[in-house]
């Protein structure tokens, strides 16, 4: 009897953008931000998007997260074509499937870390105790289990960003969208945050799309895409490429 080694199953596609255009009207002129952009991201990938300012990185992230809609083309996330969803459906979909991490953390200054993290759970039917429990777990994952009651103003930049990541994780989303997550941090804090994102990708299987200017940050990703003037111009591997 010979041993049969099964062929590795192809990874499913988490993200598929096909022929996406995005343009804005400004001062009566149409400004093209993204042009004929197509992209496939397998489930569990850590993708870094790099490019100069105005290259369309953040716009691309907004389209993936359903914060904006493409002018043409389609955006499919985990099999769901999101550009066909109505506004209210898109809002609900976003709450269930997307976790956002922002450059400037965007925490509520009047809420402590625990309540900031539990904020997205207000949209669920979970009990207060269950929400609190999950928020504590999320803060534990990012290493802030001991700072539950701290308000954002009493936390360092790196800690605030980790609270932001915990908030993004709390609903167990399929995909994390990070817009310059280390752009406002010193080198050591940036390293901690990037290490954390790598752990989430590797150990929890989260698909991550990260916009960054920082080549060292991009090195943490498994694939790096370079954008310029709304087009994908280059793809490269990274130090983290398995």
């Amino acid at each position: 009897m010979s041993a049969v080694t099964p062929e590795p199953r192809p990874k499913s596609l988490m993200l598929h953008l096909d022929g996406v255009d995005k343009s804005f009207k400004r001062g009566g002129q149409s400004i093209v931000v993204l042009e004929e952009l197509s992209l496939k991201v397998p489930t569990g990938e850590f993708l870094a998007l790099m490019g100069p300012s105005g290259s369309g990185k953040s716009t691309l992230l907004n389209l993936i997260g359903g914060l904006d809609r493409p002018s043409h083309g389609s955006v499919v996330v985990d099999g769901q074509s999101i550009d066909s969803l109505k506004s209210s459906e898109l809002t609900r979909w976003r709450a269930r499937n997307i976790g956002f991490v922002f450059q400037f953390y965007n925490l509520m200054p009047v809420l402590n870390a625990l309540n900031n993290v539990a904020l997205p759970l207000m949209l669920t039917n979970l009990s207060h105790a269950e929400r609190r429990k999950r928020a504590e777990i999320a803060l534990g994952i990012v290493g802030l289990g001991h700072r539950l009651k701290q308000y954002p103003r009493t936390l360092s930049g790196g800690e605030q960003q980790r609270v932001g990541i915990a908030r993004a994780l709390i609903t167990d989303p399929k995909i994390l969208l990070c817009d310059e997550p280390t752009g406002d941090l010193d080198r050591a804090s940036a390293r901690d945050v990037l290490d954390l994102l790598q752990v989430l990708n590797r150990d929890l299987g989260k698909t991550i799309v990260m916009v960054t200017h920082d080549p060292q940050a991009a090195e943490c990703a498994t694939r790096i895409l370079h954008l310029d003037k709304g087009r994908l111009i280059r793809e490269s591997g990274s130090g983290a490429n398995p």
């Binding site: 914060l67 509520m108 949209l123």
Partner: protein, 384 residues
């Protein structure tokens, strides 16, 4: 954490501004409460006036006296059912600030004409048996602690006694209540026969007559008949319905209702601008946070209610506490003028209107900022 607690924490962000806005709304609704009570005080006579009662006074002025003999002649006029009379005594209890009205009347006649004055039967009997007896309304009795059996000295300002002294001493034999909330229970009534005999002036004079007609439909015709009866006499009369008489009395000061409405409208318009400005500023400052809420999955409607809820909370905290305090002060402390406004209360209708205004103020001040928050484009707002 609930949506309400999120709103409350939002209000606490700029707590000085929030507190000042709440205070301005609080003051506005305190003012609303007191102005409502003042309006009632001025309109109370007309409001509680019976349609079938006429007031007959001297044609020249209320301070001119009428002969007591007119009463019998009025009773003979077609359409007249009952007649009584009263006179302004204008005395002072201890010191001028302790104002309350006093009138000499005929007990049975007066209580017959004013059934809204509720006096126990045994106290009426006592009054009829006591020449120097007087009855006093609950408001004044409570104000000065008068009780049955007390002797109350009143200093005359218009009607000195025959012996030249100014002090009239009355025996309190009864305390009457009002049948309605608007009934004036401040006057002290004493017996006309005692008054007419003891004062130094001309006998057989009265201040004004109160006439009950058979049918309110013919009140004007009866009033005209009374005036014609006494036309070309030394004391011509002017008869009118009690409501018209009291409304005319109040309008000597001005159109109180219109003045108060103008004041309160100006106050509320200003407060609306203040509260709306606070909410607009609050939304402008939190554009980014509202966008984050939307990015996290809060719907347009939820964000709209979030902002509108904050506006309603501000209006509610200020408005309800202002209404509650003014209602409590008006009810417990009462007339702040020491008797100038004997009927001083906040009607339930005004309380209801006040509550409605609180809600309208909240919606009015938060509506535009809430719409602005609702239509916020996440991607645009996050770029700001």
């Amino acid at each position: 954490m609930s949506m309400l607690s999120l709103m409350l924490r939002g209000l606490g962000r700029k707590w000085v501004r929030t507190l000042l806005t709440i205070l301005s709304i609080f003051v506005a609704f305190m003012l609303f409460g007191f102005l409502a009570a003042i309006r009632v005080a001025f309109a109370s006579g007309a409001n509680v006036a019976d349609a079938d009662r006429l007031i007959v006074r001297h044609a020249v002025s209320i301070i001119q006296m009428l002969p007591e003999t007119y009463g019998d002649r009025m009773r003979r006029i077609d359409g007249v059912k009952d007649v009584s009379h009263a006179t302004w005594f204008g005395g002072i209890y201890q010191e001028p600030k302790n104002f309350f009205p006093q009138h000499p009347v005929i007990p049975d006649d007066h209580l017959n004409l004013y059934p809204e004055l509720l006096l126990p039967a045994e106290q009426l009997q006592a009054w009829k048996k006591t020449r120097t007896g007087a009855i006093v309304g609950r408001t004044t009795a409570d104000r000065f602690g008068f009780k049955v059996g007390d002797r109350v000295p009143i200093q005359a300002t218009i009607w000195p006694k025959k012996d030249g002294t100014q002090t009239w001493t009355f025996d309190i034999v009864g305390i009457y209540d009002g049948a309605k909330s608007g009934t004036d229970t401040s006057p002290l009534f004493f017996r006309y026969d005692y008054f007419d005999e003891a004062h130094r002036g001309t006998r057989g004079q009265v201040g004004w007559y109160i006439v009950r007609v058979d049918d309110p439909k013919y009140a004007d015709a009866v009033a005209e008949a009374i005036d014609q009866t006494f036309a070309n006499s030394p004391a011509e009369t002017k008869a009118e319905t009690e409501g018209a008489f009291l409304a005319g009395f109040a309008s000597q000061i001005g159109n109180i209702g219109a003045i108060l409405t103008a004041i309160i409208s100006a106050v509320f318009f200003t407060i609306l601008l203040v509260a709306a400005n606070t909410m607009a500023q609050s939304v402008r400052e939190r554009t980014n946070e509202l966008a984050v809420l939307k990015a996290l999955g809060f719907g347009d409607g939820q964000v709209l209610w979030f902002v509108l809820g904050e506006a309603l909370l501000i209006a509610g905290l200020g408005g309800f506490s202002g209404l509650l305090l003014s209602f409590t002060l008006i009810t417990v402390v009462g007339d702040p003028t020491n008797g100038m406004l004997p009927v001083f209360y906040m009607p339930k209708a005004d309380l209801g209107l006040g509550l409605l205004l609180v809600v309208l103020l909240g919606v009015g001040s938060g509506f535009l900022p809430a719409l602005q928050a609702r239509s916020l484009q996440i991607a645009d707002a996050l770029r700001r």
